[in-house]
Every structure is written in C-alpha cells, then in structure tokens.
C-alpha cells in the first residue's frame, strides 16, 4: 500500500545542529498520529519537514506518490495549500478578518467563488461549534474558539492530511478537549489523516498512533 505521506531517511540541520536524522515514517490515508517527545527533540521540525517548509539536508518526502521535497518552492506551496492543512499553537488567523473570512481565505486562494467559499466556511464552523461567533474578529472570541476556527480553516478545503503543531498548547484542559474533539471528528468525517505534535498525553489519546522523537530520531514508531 502506498503511504499518503512518507519520509525516507530524513535529515534536517540548522547550522551545526542536527535537528532530525535517519527519519523513516509512513503515514496512511485517514491515519491519526501523535508526535511526542521532550522539548527540543525535533518533533516540530519533523512536521515542518513533512510539510516541505524546512529544507532537507538528506532524505525524501513523498506526498500521494510524488516527491514533495524536489518541487520548486512555488509548486511545493501549491501542493501544501491544496492537499494539506496546517494548525499551529497560536492559530495564525488574520486578526483583521472575521472567523468566517479566515476560513474562506484558503478556499478562495484555491479558486473557490466567494459565495461558495462562505457557505462551506459556515458549514465547517458549525461542525466545530463556533458558528455563533463566525462574524466576530479574533480579538472578540476566546482562545478556544479561535483555535477551533483554525481547525475549520485547516479542514475546509478537504485536504488529504492536516499537520498540527501543538494546536492546544495555549489552551486550558476543557478548551483543549473541545479543539481535539473538533479536529478528530472532522478528520473522521472527511477521511483526512492527522498528525498532531503535542507534549500532552490527553491530546495524544484522541489519536490512534504515537510516534516518539528523541534527540532527532524516532525512538518509538508506528507498529507495522
């Protein structure tokens, strides 16, 4: 079976520091994986390498059977935009826009007409439970609501995979559970694979597999 997203022999260096080395990881369509490990172990670097955001010193990244790492920057960005969704610790939503406008943004960049994009954005915001504040800006909603909007934005264009880097890192336990419930429910409904970097075992418990990264290497991988 071809993996949806696969790393083969990944190595990432930041100057003289080796952040990742000898990483082999194959993620199946619809799989849900937590990436755990101590601070500075390389777990965020792993997700950024899988997304094609950081340059590789060695190795390959394959997305849906094609090389991602050898594409030009522009084509890699396009592939990422179309087939991946990203969620970060601080949602990275545009503060000047309302929640619904934020969710519409990637859809419109991908060519969806405004009216269709709005309908889809409202639909996904309903699914994550923040439709009632859809027309508010980020500053007028709670951190948990903003993060659920970030989840909606990441999944609105029905990507093949969502990569989330500490998506609940800035939230309390209850808000964190709401964000993870929203993220996993949407990914199950849409058949989207999930990779979530987290230091929180309660977050990892929402996912089916755990990969542990230590000192830039995978110390516990996905069982075959």
């Amino acid at each position: 079976m071809t993996a949806l997203l696969e790393a083969r022999g990944l190595r990432v260096e930041y100057g003289a520091t080796v952040a990742l080395d000898a990483i082999d990881l194959a993620l199946a369509a619809g799989s849900r994986t937590a990436v755990m490990g101590p601070s500075g172990s390389g777990k965020s670097s792993l997700v950024h390498a899988l997304a094609g955001i950081v340059p590789l010193s060695a190795g390959e990244v394959w997305l849906e059977g094609g090389r991602l790492d050898t594409l030009s920057e522009a084509r890699r960005s396009r592939a990422r935009l179309a087939r991946m969704g990203m969620v970060f610790q601080f949602g990275d939503l545009v503060p000047e826009l309302t929640l619904v406008e934020n969710v519409m943004l990637p859809l419109q960049v991908l060519g969806t007409r405004a009216a269709t994009a709005r309908r889809r954005a409202v639909e996904v915001l309903e699914q994550v439970g923040v439709a009632e504040v859809a027309d508010r800006r980020i500053g007028a909603v709670s951190g948990g609501q903003a993060q659920r909007a970030a989840v909606a934005r990441a999944l609105a264009h029905r990507p093949a995979i969502v990569l989330a880097d500490e998506p609940t890192g800035a939230l309390d336990t209850v808000s964190s559970e709401q964000v993870m419930d929203a993220l996993t429910r949407l990914s199950v409904d849409q058949g989207t694979a999930l990779v979530v970097v987290t230091h929180d075992h309660r977050v990892a418990a929402h996912l089916d597999d755990v990969v542990v990264v230590r000192d830039g290497r995978i110390s516990v991988g996905i069982p075959a």
Binding site: P38, H201, R202, A204, V220
Partner: protein, 177 residues
C-alpha cells in the same frame, strides 16, 4: 510480589546475606518504611524453594548462622519476565513501575523499553476513556477525567524519567556499591 522480585533483582547484582539485602533494599526503595527482616528471609526461602536462588555458604560468627544466597539462571529469568511485563493500568501502582525502571537501570536492562511499553499501555487506556467521555453524562465524565488525570500524571513521570535515565543509572549504581 514486586517487593520479592525487587529483592531477587538486588541479589542478581551479587550474592548476599539477608541482612545485606535488606539494607540495600531499604536504601533504594523503602526510605520511609524499612522492610521487615522477616519479609526478607521469607522471600529468600521462597526463592530457594522456586529454584530462583541457592545457598552458597553458611557463616557462623558471633550471632546466628548467616546464609549467603546467589541468584540462579531461573531467578534471572523471573526478574527479566517481571521487569519487562507491562501492567494493566487498573492493577498499576506507580511504585512498581519505579521499581521496575530502577531494576532495569541497575541490571543493564533497557529502562527505556520498560517506559515505552508502559507508555503504550497507558495511552491505550487513555484512548478508551477519551472515546467513552464523548458520550458520557456529567457524573461519568467526572469519573473518566479522574482516571485520565491519574494516567496523565503517570505518563508525565514516564516522560521525565525518560530524560533522566543516564544520571539515574549512575546514581543507583553508586547507591548499591
């Protein structure tokens, strides 16, 4: 059971009399509540009966005779089986995990493997509870989150221990010297 097997594991390092074994155990695992001598001698008799340890000599000094015990290959196998056997969370006690990790460090077994297998079992239980929580009423949610919080606390210790194995192995080796 874990007290007996921890004593057996201490015997694995080198043959010892019951008296020495008790003091080694107390120094490592029973700082606030020392082990009774009777418990140590009962354990040594059981080891003898199971073929896990054997008497290598009897010394008669001023007091009573002192038997010196050494572990047998079957005893080593018993320790290995215990150290690597992850325990179901419902039967879990954190002191048992601490003891298994310490014994792994003392004996050159893989403490990281002990932690990894326990992490996997704890996370599996947390997944079950997380799935249950989605449809639970408020009372059931309280019970579920109570168990989740305790599993989470154990897992935090597992992660912290994982980052301290090397210095801990050195300190434990010094403590039993």
């Amino acid at each position: 059971m874990s007290t007996s097997l921890t004593l057996l594991a201490l015997l694995e390092r080198e043959p010892a009399h019951g008296y020495t074994l008790k003091h080694r155990y107390d120094a490592l695992f029973a700082r606030t509540r020392p082990l009774a001598f009777g418990q140590v001698y009962a354990a040594l008799n059981r080891f003898d009966k199971h073929g896990w340890a054997e008497v290598t000599g009897v010394e008669i000094a001023d007091g009573p005779e002192r038997k010196r015990y050494r572990i047998t290959p079957d005893g080593v196998e018993a320790v290995t089986g215990w150290v690597y056997a992850a325990e179901a969370p419902s039967e879990f006690s954190s002191s048992s995990l601490f003891a298994r990790v310490s014994v792994a460090l003392l004996s050159g077994r893989s403490a990281a493997e002990v932690l990894d297998s326990q992490r996997a079992l704890h996370l599996a239980r947390m997944r079950e509870l997380t799935a249950e929580r989605r449809t639970a009423d408020a009372a059931a949610t309280l019970a579920i989150t109570y168990e989740l919080a305790h599993l989470d606390a154990d897992l935090r210790w597992i992660e912290e221990a994982g980052s301290r194995l090397e210095p801990a192995a050195d300190a434990l080796a010094k403590a039993v010297r």
